[in-house]
């Protein structure tokens, strides 16, 4: 699961130590895919500003990458760093669940 940084659809925003490395798997430019990308960017800007990197992988282009991260449902967001590996599936429209899923916010603290 090494981020080789050579993907065509990589958007890198200030990779610094302790940062969140996020990988978003989608299949084509479906409404769900586009929604997921937009939702993820918004959440990261709001909560992880300056310490995250997002890699979007389109499986219609690189289907061989699906097995490596055990992708079944799409869209799937995988947090590769910091460990442990975390997954969130869906179009990420429920911000609260994304924050819990990525361990950005503890499950009980729920202020928006």
């Amino acid at each position: 699961m090494v981020n080789d940084g050579s993907e065509p659809s990589v958007e890198v925003e200030s990779p610094e130590p302790g940062a969140y490395n996020l990988r978003l798997y989608v299949a084509g430019q479906t409404p769900k895919s586009l929604a997921a990308i937009a939702n993820l960017k918004a959440i990261c800007e709001d909560h992880l500003s300056g310490r995250y990197s997002i890699e979007v992988i389109d499986l219609t282009v690189t289907p061989q990458l699906a097995a490596g991260d055990q992708i079944v449902a799409l869209p799937t967001l995988v947090r590769t760093l910091p460990p442990p590996l975390k997954r969130v599936i869906g179009d990420l429209s429920n911000t609260e669940k994304v924050l819990v899923g990525l361990d950005i916010r503890p499950r009980l603290a729920s202020t928006s």
Partner: protein, 570 residues
């Protein structure tokens, strides 16, 4: 199985294309295999062999039909899977390396996944599509797809996606097996039989009297005839064998050709000169009457003719049989070495009755013998109905292939027929009974033919001896005092000889008497002759005397007349 082959042909002609699984028996039951280009459902409780079954489908596809396959495992990891199927003799890793097989393990852990918003299973489609396209797969297995239900919360979405997946598989044109756990009151736990409706096969694993029997049933097969019974199947180091029970009907060809029993005297007793080729023979008898020896004699004779024989031993090891039979003059090891004879030995309690049958069926299929011996069928214990059903199938399998089958059965003293005999007696074309006759402190072995269909056989009881050069018959004394064997027979024969001697002496005495009487009579006749002769002599003498006197008297008279005339004449 010839008529089934015909069915294959007619099914193909009807237009329903089928993909052979390469699993012996299953392709017979389904009349050709699984529906080509469609998904089939394979369901059963845990431990039924679903994974092994579906992996066999793929491995056979690669090896026998040159159809690459994809195995999507939702439960076992690829490595574990490879290790598990290695026990069936499959070298899956080699096939993977040769790009004939793809194994993809799909792991979904509910606790690791957070769901946020809408999603679909496109990722699964992408992986499956990629795997299929990478090797040009024609066969796909999804094992066990219901694992998704425990990994993902939205079951309504899952159902919709599964429906889409099965449709997608059809569009891809791959022949797929989808496995599922058996559910309460329905075929699968999550009711996915609703979506996979072309062909549903149910596997079952039942334990009866501590013996497990695996069974298979084709629940439905849209657009095709199929066998509807439960069929036992076997998983062992040589793969999977399904036993098609109904594959054999009563339409087998019969033969008039006799095959030697290996005992010349028995050949003579059976009117035809031996058993008929392809017939079923039961040799029942008490312990130690030489049932196995008759089996060995038959095998030995068959191998000498160059026929292939399969000997199923359930009580003795092959070495033991070979050694024991050498003592009665049958060198079976020679035939084993030449490849004509094969022993298959197993303890009856290792598997269920039907599993034994499945194994025998497989061995017969593989070895293609002309003759088999099952020694003994009485070793099997179980419900008589099951024994009967199983033996019917075995006899049918043999008959349909023209294999002459000799079954031995151990009888017990007291009851004439035991369970296994009673249940198979009607199946047997020839039934030879071996018994012991006990008298005068010894046992002697006696044989008789209870029945032998289609030949005029001897009804005699015959005593036989197991010598160091085979089995030999001795004439039995059958008389008013019953059947006598052994020393009783010898004694009786001695008695007969004695009385015969007495009769001889009597005759000689009568002869002597007669001779004596004749001599006496002749003596009397001689005496009478002598008397007569004496009398004749006497009479002759008297006559002569009389004549002499007459003469003398005449002479005297003339003398006197002369004398007187002289006196008168003067």
């Amino acid at each position: 199985m010839q008529h089934l082959q015909d069915h294959h042909a007619s099914a193909a002609a009807a237009g329903l294309a089928k993909t052979p699984t390469g699993i012996r028996g299953l392709d017979d039951i389904t009349l050709g295999g699984l529906p080509n280009g469609r998904p089939s459902l394979l369901c059963g409780a845990a431990g039924c062999g679903k994974t092994l079954f579906s992996m066999t489908f793929l491995v056979n596809g690669v090896i026998a039909y040159d159809e690459p396959g994809v195995f999507m495992s939702f439960e076992e990891r690829a490595r574990d899977l490879e290790d598990n199927v290695a026990s069936l003799g499959y070298h899956v890793a080699d096939l993977v390396a040769a790009k004939k097989l793809v194994i993809d393990h799909i792991h979904i852990e509910h606790s690791e996944i957070e769901e946020s918003g809408e999603y679909d299973l496109e990722g699964l489609f992408v992986r499956l599509g990629f795997a299929i396209d990478s090797i040009g797969a024609k066969r796909v297995v999804l094992d066990t797809i219901e694992a998704l239900f425990s990994g993902l919360a939205d079951t309504a979405l899952l159902r919709a996606e599964l429906r889409r997946l099965f449709g997608w598989l059809k569009d891809k044109g791959v022949t797929a097996i989808i496995t599922a756990e058996r559910g309460e009151g329905q075929l699968t736990r999550f009711g996915i039989e609703e979506y996979v409706s072309d062909c549903v096969i149910l596997l079952d694993n039942r334990v009866e009297e501590q013996i497990t029997t695996r069974r298979l049933r084709v629940v439905k097969y849209r657009g095709s005839a199929h066998g509807t019974n439960e069929y036992p199947f076997l998983i062992d180091d040589e793969g999977i064998t399904v036993l098609p029970i109904t594959s054999a009907g009563l339409e087998h060809k019969i033969s008039q050709e006799p095959v030697s029993t290996g005992v010349d005297d028995l050949d003579a007793m059976l009117g035809a000169g031996g058993y008929f080729r392809g017939s079923s023979v039961l040799i029942s008898g008490l312990a130690g009457t030489g049932k196995s020896t008759y089996g060995a004699a038959f095998v030995d004779a068959a191998c000498r003719r160059g026929a292939r024989c399969l000997y199923f031993a359930f009580e003795e090891s092959p070495e033991q049989i070979a050694r024991n039979m050498r003592s009665v003059g049958f060198n079976l090891q020679r035939h084993v070495d030449s490849g004509l004879l094969r022993f298959e030995a197993a303890r009856p309690s290792i598997y269920g009755f039907e599993m034994h049958l499945a194994r025998m069926y497989r061995d017969i299929e593989r070895f293609e013998p002309q003759a088999i011996v099952v020694d003994p069928i009485s070793a099997f214990r179980g419900p008589s109905l099951e024994i009967h059903a199983t033996l019917v199938r075995l006899a049918d399998i043999c008959k349909s292939r023209g294999i002459t089958a000799v079954f031995t059965s151990l009888s017990t003293v007291g009851d004439q027929m035991n369970e296994s005999e009673r249940s198979v007696s009607s199946l047997m074309d020839t039934w030879i009974s071996l018994t012991d006759m006990e008298a005068n402190g010894e046992r002697n072995r006696v044989l008789y033919i209870l029945k032998s269909r289609g030949m005029s056989h001897s009804k005699q009881l015959r005593e036989y001896l197991l010598s160091d050069n085979g089995i030999h018959f001795v004439d039995v004394y059958a008389g008013p005092e019953g059947v006598l064997t052994g020393t009783a027979r010898l004694a009786q024969e001695a008695r007969e000889r004695e009385s015969s001697n007495a009769r001889q002496q009597n005759i000689q005495k009568m002869h002597r008497e007669l001779t004596r009487k004749r001599e006496a009579a002749e003596r009397r006749i001689a005496e009478l002759h002598a008397d007569l002769a004496r009398e004749e002599d006497e009479v002759q003498r008297i006559i002569e005397q009389e004549e002499t006197r007459e003469e003398t008297l005449g002479t005297d008279r003339s003398t006197m007349a002369t004398a007187r005339g002289h006196q008168h004449g003067q």
